[in-house]
Amino acid sequence: MTDGTDLPAWAAILTALFVVAGAGLTLIGSLGLLRLGSFYQRLHAPTLGTTLGTGGILIGSMIFFSALGTRPVLHEILIAVFVTVTTPVTFILLVRATRQRGTDLPPPSPPEKNTKDLAH
């Protein structure tokens, strides 16, 4: 259906740059899950994939399909909107669940200033 061979060189290079950058950031985010010390620190890592990582891959996809002219590039905008609006729900639920279980040091209520994480 979509054959990359009739893609002009400039579009191929741009697409590759954006897709590799997006995938690279997502990979770094996943690495963060391994490298960071505490639960709350690790929660920050996947946001790389859900923001610029997704963004880079989507921009690459838009350039690819615009250059080929096979379809209007509106799917990507919808994907970006949905990912942006739904991701916070996931993270807030994760934080809530952690506080509920009390497995990590919860932010005290009333919150004091700058309570530190408990290291695992």
Binding site: L25, I28, G29, L31, G32, R35, L36, G37, S38, Y40, Q41, L43, H44, A45, T47, L48, T50, T51, L52, G55, R71, P72, L74, H75, L78, T84, V85, T87, P88, F91, I92, V95, R96, R99, P107, S109, P110, P111, E112, K113, N114, T115, K116, D117, A119
Partner: protein, 162 residues
């Protein structure tokens, strides 16, 4: 508004969304999309959403660009932290920020902004006292985080939503 279209804008958005997802303007997809539009809006009434009032479209645009720039910048910052040498856990932690904003949609937008910016996480908002708790990965300078969230985001969100 009417019985079948309590939220005409939401219904229109759902219909456009359905047609875009299916890349089709055929009558079949149109009927399915219309059913989704009416059903979705009726489901929304059950949630009794508060009224939305938007002001200053210019501020929305300005805030969007600011947030995109901040997302790019903090992506780089968090990538550095992940790839850099192992850091002591004390560099990250919780902090509280007193907010003046009470508009529910403004707070929702702030939650999206804070969560989409790598390095900060929305932990909770105490609506009785107006205190927002966030978790910050790189909590070196607490005052600058408070300034960022209050000056950069809250002020503009209040202009838009209140």
């Amino acid at each position: 508004m009417t019985r079948w279209l309590p939220y005409p804008l939401v219904s229109l958005a759902l219909l456009v969304l359905w047609l875009l997802l299916n890349q089709s303007l055929g009558p079949g997809q149109f009927i399915l999309g219309a059913a989704l539009a009416v059903g979705g809006a009726l489901a929304l009434t059950a949630l009794e959403p508060p009224n939305l009032r938007l002001r200053r479209p210019g501020a929305i645009l300005e805030l969007s660009f600011l947030v995109i720039a901040d997302i790019v910048r903090s992506n780089v910052a968090v990538a550095r932290i992940i790839l850099g040498p192992r850091r002591p856990d004390e560099t990250s932690g919780f902090m509280s920020i007193p907010l003046e904003m009470r508009a529910p949609y403004g707070l929702a937008a702030l939650a999206i902004i804070i969560t989409s910016t790598p390095g900060t996480l929305w932990v909770g908002f105490d609506s009785a006292r107006g205190i927002l708790t966030i978790h910050v990965l790189d909590l070196i300078d607490e005052a600058s985080w408070i300034a960022t969230i209050k000056q950069r985001y809250e002020r503009r969100l209040m202009e838009i939503f209140e």
